[in-house]
Amino acid sequence: MGGFIVKRLAVSVPVLLGVTFLIFMLLHVVPGDPVALMMGERMSPEVIDRVRAQMHLDDPWPVRYVRFISDALRGDLGESYKLRRPVVGLLRDAFPTTLKLALAAALVAWCIGIPAGILSAVRPYSLVDNFFMGLALTGVSTPVFWTALLFQYLFSLKLGWLPVAGFYSAKHLIMPALVLGWSSSGLVARLTRSSLLDVMRHDYIRTARAKGLRQGPVILRHALKNALLPVVTVMALQIAFLLSGSVITESVFNIPGVGRIAVGAIQNRDMPLLQGAVLFTTVLVILGNLAADLLYGWLDPRIRRDGGVGR
């Protein structure tokens, strides 16, 4: 297991480097002059040149990339053009909100998705199965922003149960979490079902039945753990999905999280802020993947004992 962790960490490093490089290339080698964008077009060329020199934007890109990396490692992601505040500070303030939203949504997704998937798999092709799977596919197919608007219309305007937008209390979290969780519960349900069905076809399930176990214990004791192994991995990836899905949710519900920062940064052409938000989210996703793999390794004795990546 120790070797497995080391190996998995070692794989993450080049990915992280690649990610920073891609972000850098995308946002720094943009056609158009960021300074001109930042300061407006009426600024005199001399001023623009001076600012460029101050910001070291005249250096060749490899030099800028190395500086970007070393600054980032020191926790410095630059300053927002628009808000005139350090990017790291803005992200640090926004992150807890996004995390709360993502976790609440994940909870919703799992609480709906896993039971629905299990019920479907127990009686495949039955009415129950068709109902849940139709529902799951609908969930996958619903645009998050649309559900959000629908919920706002129904629960806030028509019923008056929940606040329309903003993020001030736990009550404000309910609607966004439901919206975001609903869209990914379909994925969880479908995955749980197919994984469980797949496991139920294995020989060791027949062995368990041959021992005299009834259907319930067969599923609970022998099938579920195997079936949930891939689900767990996807659930960790889901957090990533939810973090990016929260871009839309946050902007609809006007929640001051990382996603809304990213959207705002694009609207204001605030390059350092966008770069910081993207980098930050991606690092979170990589960490999520890492956690998923470690969890998988911990749950699956074939990896736990041998240290191999036996998947």
Partner: protein, 307 residues
């Protein structure tokens, strides 16, 4: 019993039906024939095909059967609720929303098909190359895929759109650049398992060149999963475009992109809810239809992807 000199002609026998495969349906002429037959039995999938066909026909025929202009502004007709004259009502410029939604279908279909096709082709080529040639090529392609997959796809697409500028054409590029990675992983893993198959080994033993092995043996066997991946990436692309346009980094006004329509409608969600809700229903319907289709196709093809 006679010892087996002069083997009798035994071609007219069929394979024995062993109980282990008693439930399977794989005895037809060709793969695709069987797939079509299995697909036709799937009612949900057929309903999907029906909905997609209707939407596609409407989109194609829009200039002929809709008299209205999707861009025609009439400030006297602002925010009209759905009625016989305006099925979906009108928007804040008094444009007929139904006309705009139908025209928007053309965008969604094009967005669904082109980036899905591009990303599938790119992903399939890279996946086969990666899996078959292995070594350094494989290493670098897969690391690139890792990097792309590490990004939440919407954020990466947003960043690309930021760089390239918001336009319909750039959406093609952004979505293709995001979508190829997962396809390449799927195709690569399939290539890896095919590469070890005896029939590929037999071709090597015959001295068949690597390129011909790829085209005769690897690609045709990857094709079922490539088709499934392609079908599944259509609704994904439609959703992403809608998301980008909703956020304002996709299609730009006055283009009647569905995401944009919802985004414009959200300003009036309390006074004129249909403006946001109805274009959203269109997205849901089309994406759902494609998903049902893709699901049906996958179920029909699945039994053939194992060998």
């Amino acid at each position: 019993m006679r010892p087996g000199r002069d083997p009798k002609l035994i071609a007219d026998e069929l394979p024995p039906l062993v109980p282990a495969e008693a439930g399977d349906d794989m005895a037809g002429e060709t793969l695709w024939g069987d797939v079509v037959r299995a697909f036709w039995k799937n009612r949900a999938a057929l309903a999907g095909v029906g909905v997609v066909t209707v939407i596609a026909l409407m989109a194609l025929g829009a200039p002929w059967f809709l008299r209205g202009d999707p861009y025609a502004i009439d400030l006297d007709l602002r925010h009209l609720p759905p009625s016989w004259d305006h099925w979906f009502g009108t928007d804040h410029y008094g444009r007929d929303l139904f006309t705009r939604v139908v025209h928007g279908a053309r965008i969604s279909l094009v967005i669904g098909l082109i980036p899905a096709f591009l990303s599938t082709v790119i992903g399939a080529v890279l996946g086969v190359v990666s899996g078959f040639y292995g070594g350094k090529t494989d290493f670098w392609i897969m690391r690139l895929a890792d990097v792309v997959l590490a990004f939440p796809s919407l954020l990466l697409a947003m960043a690309i759109m930021y760089t390239l500028g918001a336009s319909l054409f750039n959406i093609f590029i952004a979505l293709s650049a995001v979508g190829w990675a997962s396809t390449s992983r799927i195709v690569r893993s399939q290539t890896l398992s095919l590469r070890e198959k005896d029939f590929v080994e037999a071709a090597r033993a015959l001295g068949v060149s690597r390129g011909k092995i790829v085209f005769r043996h690897i690609l045709p066997n990857c094709l079922p999963s490539i088709v499934v991946v392609f079908t599944m990436s259509i609704p994904a692309a439609i959703m992403q475009e809608a998301g980008l346009s909703f956020l304002g980094v996709g299609a730009q006004p006055p283009t009647p992109s569905w995401g944009l329509l919802v985004s414009q409608g959200k300003e009036f969600i309390f006074s004129a809810p249909w403006e946001a809700i109805l274009p959203g229903v269109a997205i849901l319907l089309l994406v759902l239809a494609f998903n049902f289709m893709g699901d049906g196709l996958r179920d029909a093809i699945d039994p053939y992807m194992k060998d």
